[in-house]
């Protein structure tokens, strides 16, 4: 039996995600709509709910309407209208019973579309508590579609919803008086022949909003629209919205709401009391700063023990593998390449999961909207929407979801400006780099007042990255992306206790996505780098006599892959190779030679060839920078025990006995990583979002130049001040 295809629609903040998770048992696939970056989630209804026939649920983006003002609405409409393959068999619309006066607008639009509709009337408890109970039977009569009361948080009513969805095809939906009225309502601009009424109304609103591109209008459709004066199109689109709200008011009157009740915001009374503090002009701002500070300090302290545990586990695993297999090239590949690479990636999972958890809780609780409300003035000064703040803030976790999150920004120029700002935000992949250098090079007990020097530096890097992002945005908005500041128009939803399950699922999706990337890109780059840094082995290397090594080792020169770095290797003068680190096997490898060749460029910023190799490796992803350094030191020390990298950095000495990694050099390296756009994944996502290579290349070039210039500046000024 072919499954029944259900599309789940609804306003943001009405419990749609909870309902989806209850329906599918949280076993869903995350995907993307073709051509746009709006994320989709689809899953099958769990057998526990005993659907009469298999049902698959597609979770549409949460929208207030289907008018194509941003991609979310455009995607929802196209999906419902069948422009993206078959239209869904049934639409399940989630309505907030405590906020019907606005929620019913989407219901009216869906009725115009004419797909079979089932309403899940959510938050009945909130409405009843507020003294505005809704009678589902009355609403069903008024709308002319089945209405099932649900409490998504507890799963109440879900089984009845599934039943209603499954039986929809057996209950022919009579054209309700309302739907007949909606369809018969004369348009100021009647649809030309060949274009359906719903599509035409949609196109008219798209033309009025100036988003025909988003609506995917054909040449014929554009021509039909162009036949009318722009003022008439705008007037018709506005009249349509007003007519729909007239229907909403008629519906509300029909189910017994008075005009005074329509005005009231019952779900908001408690939130308004909370907001007296949280958006207060003094306390609100102080709390905002406190919340942001708490997030980042807790990531730093809570994740630390888990990171330590993962480090030890990988070290233990390496020992076991080495003991079981005995020494040899294959063992080295496993321990120094595969295990070390995987470990150096997994070690960041606690931070990433924690950050997504905290950001998710803020979003689901309703605080994120307040944050946008508080900082809009600041964002408007940059020339952006307060809502751009949320993707920017997500940039602290990872640029990739943050860039995907910019789709809520309507104006393409503003969206692009935000995308260009995001990589400046210190993502969680950079945090481990800061943590590594700070903990390796700055004593943990150095304090300024109650704060350690390390935590102050960390706060400083985040402040620097934030200020730089805002400055970059301001510059882009005043130059190449000049345009008016976009409209704000943001709902401040009622505060709700976040549902841990939903947040954890979100955290799982995000973290699993990161690990999958780690599993492919980062791990393979680590292994490739291990090969580059291990071969050819020096003729007199301590393990040169090993059977396996001998088998692999023929003529060192023959191991240089053709065309790859033959040139670089050949041009390194022999005396330069001999000058330092004579004992390091790595100096003879391909990677070592490339790094050596880069050294003159790196020296002004206080870095040696090891950092050069790590910086090169980090192009694949910033995380690789650490695993490369690990590889560099792991191999160099020829140490089967995985002593944590920070110990090695701290203990590394130049031939003259001085510390190889001084605090100043570490600072320069960290400044470099604050600015460098060292992430292939970010560049690839930007390329997909902007649909050209121009912007990722611009982004990479400007950020790299800035990174190098500032790192050189820091190192040179530091040296002039007498530091080493």
């Amino acid at each position: 039996m072919t499954p029944l295809r259900v599309a789940l629609a609804g306003n943001p903040n009405v419990g749609k995600t909870s309902l989806f998770n209850e329906l599918t048992g949280a076993r869903h696939k995350v995907g993307n709509y073709a051509g746009v970056t709006v994320e989709t989630r689809a899953g099958a209804v769990v057998p526990r709910l005993s659907p009469a026939r298999p049902i698959t649920v597609l979770d549409l983006p949460g929208t207030y309407s289907l008018t194509p003002i941003a991609e979310d609405e455009a995607v929802a409409f196209r999906c419902l209208a069948g422009a993206e393959g078959d239209p869904p068999d049934v639409v399940a619309l989630v309505l907030d019973a405590a906020n019907l006066a606005r929620n019913l607008y989407l219901a009216v639009q869906l009725l115009e579309l004419g797909r079979p509709l089932v309403v899940a009337l959510n938050m009945m408890d909130v409405a009843a508590e507020a003294g505005m109970p809704v009678d589902p039977a009355a609403l069903a009569r008024a709308l002319g579609v089945p209405v099932v009361p649900t409490v998504a948080r507890t799963g109440e009513g879900i089984a009845r919803l599934v039943e209603a969805l499954g039986s929809i095809e057996h209950v022919p939906q009579a054209i309700s008086p309302l739907r007949a009225r909606l369809l018969a309502d004369d348009d100021a601009l009647p649809a030309p022949p060949g274009i359906g009424a719903a599509r035409w109304r949609w196109l008219v609103s798209a033309a009025a909003a100036g988003t025909l591109e988003l609506a995917g209008a054909t040449a014929e459709e554009r021509a039909a629209l162009a036949a009318h004066p722009a003022a008439d199109v705008t007037a018709a689109a506005h009249a349509r919205v007003i007519a729909r709200y007239r229907e909403v008011d008629a519906l509300l009157a029909e189910i017994g709401f008075t005009a005074a009740q329509r005005e009231r915001a019952p779900a908001m009374s408690r939130s308004a009391a909370i907001d007296r503090v949280l958006t207060h002009r003094v306390w609100g701002l102080l709390i905002f700063v406190g919340v942001m500070a708490t997030i980042f300090s807790s990531i730093f302290t809570w994740a630390e023990p888990l990171m330590g545990a993962i480090e030890s586990l990988i070290g233990w695993l390496s020992e076991q593998v080495a003991a079981a297999l005995g020494p040899g090239v294959f063992t080295d590949l496993l321990t120094q390449g595969v295990l070390a690479g995987a470990g150096n990636v997994l070690v960041f999972v606690p931070q990433i999961a924690l950050l997504f958890l905290l950001l998710g809780v803020l979003e689901d609780s309703g605080y994120m909207a307040r944050a946008a409300f508080l900082v809009d003035r600041l964002m408007a000064r940059v020339g952006l929407h307060g809502r751009a703040f949320v993707p920017l803030l997500s940039g602290y976790a990872c640029a990739i979801p943050a860039i995907l999150g910019t789709r809520t920004i309507t104006d393409p120029r503003d969206r692009l400006a935000t995308i260009l700002m995001i990589p400046f935000m210190s993502c969680s992949a950079r945090l481990p780099i800061y943590v590594l250098f700070i903990s390796a090079l700055f004593p943990a007990d150095d304090r300024v007042g109650p704060f350690t020097v390390g935590s102050l530096m960390l706060v400083g890097f985040y402040a620097l990255s934030t200020v730089s992002a805002l400055a970059a945005g301001a510059i882009w908005k005043r130059t190449a992306l000049r345009g008016p500041t976009p409209p704000f128009v943001l709902e401040l939803p009622p505060y709700r206790l976040p549902r841990l399950r939903n947040t954890l699922l979100h955290v799982y999706d995000r973290t699993a996505d990161f690990v999958r990337q780690a599993g492919t890109v980062i791990l393979s780059v680590t292994v490739v780098l291990w090969v580059l840094l291990s071969f050819p082995r020096p003729p007199d290397a301590p393990d040169g006599g090993r059977a396996v090594a001998e088998a692999v080792q023929v003529d060192p020169a023959a191991h240089v892959p053709e065309g790859m770095s033959q040139g670089a290797a050949a041009h390194v003068p022999e005396d330069m190779l001999q000058a330092t680190d004579e004992d390091s096997p790595i100096i003879h490898s391909i990677g070592g030679r490339i790094g050596k060749a880069m050294e003159p460029v790196l020296q002004p910023m206080g870095q040696d060839f090891r950092m050069g190799i790590a910086i090169l490796g980090s192009f694949a992803a910033r995380e690789v920078m650490i695993s490369t350094l690990g590889l560099v030191y792991g191999i160099e020390a020829d140490d089967e025990n995985q002593t944590p990298l920070r110990e090695k950095l701290r203990e590394a000495r130049e031939p003259d006995g001085s510390r190889r990694h001084t605090p100043l050099k570490g600072l320069a390296a960290m400044i470099f990583f604050v600015y460098a756009c060292q992430c292939m994944s970010t560049l690839a996502v930007v390329r997909r979002e902007t649909r050209s290579w121009k912007w990722p290349l611009v982004m990479f070039a400007t950020m790299s130049a800035l990174a190098y210039g500032l790192a050189v500046l820091v190192y040179q000024v530091g040296r002039a001040l007498g530091y080493t």
Partner: protein, 76 residues
């Protein structure tokens, strides 16, 4: 010039008469419920005086002053 929502006093109510202008903003304002005849209350101003928090059709919506100025209204 007609009275508009940007001129509303804290806690005061007004009835929308017209959303002016064209483009996505006017359409978005209408769709968020600022249709003629709707009663709006100014709940709060953000810490730096902008944006505004307005109650409309049972929800709280935040608008910048410049946007609220597009919505003409009569004081209640």
């Amino acid at each position: 010039m007609a009275f508009n929502l940007a001129q509303l006093e804290l806690g005061a109510r007004a009835r929308v008469t017209l959303v002016g202008g064209a483009g996505p903003l006017a359409l978005r304002l209408l769709e968020m419920g600022f249709t003629p005849g709707t009663v709006v209350v100014l709940v709060k101003r953000a810490p730096f005086g902008d944006p505004l928090e307005l109650q409309v059709r049972g929800c709280h919506v935040s608008l910048r002053k410049a946007e609220a100025a597009r919505i003409e209204a009569v004081r209640l």
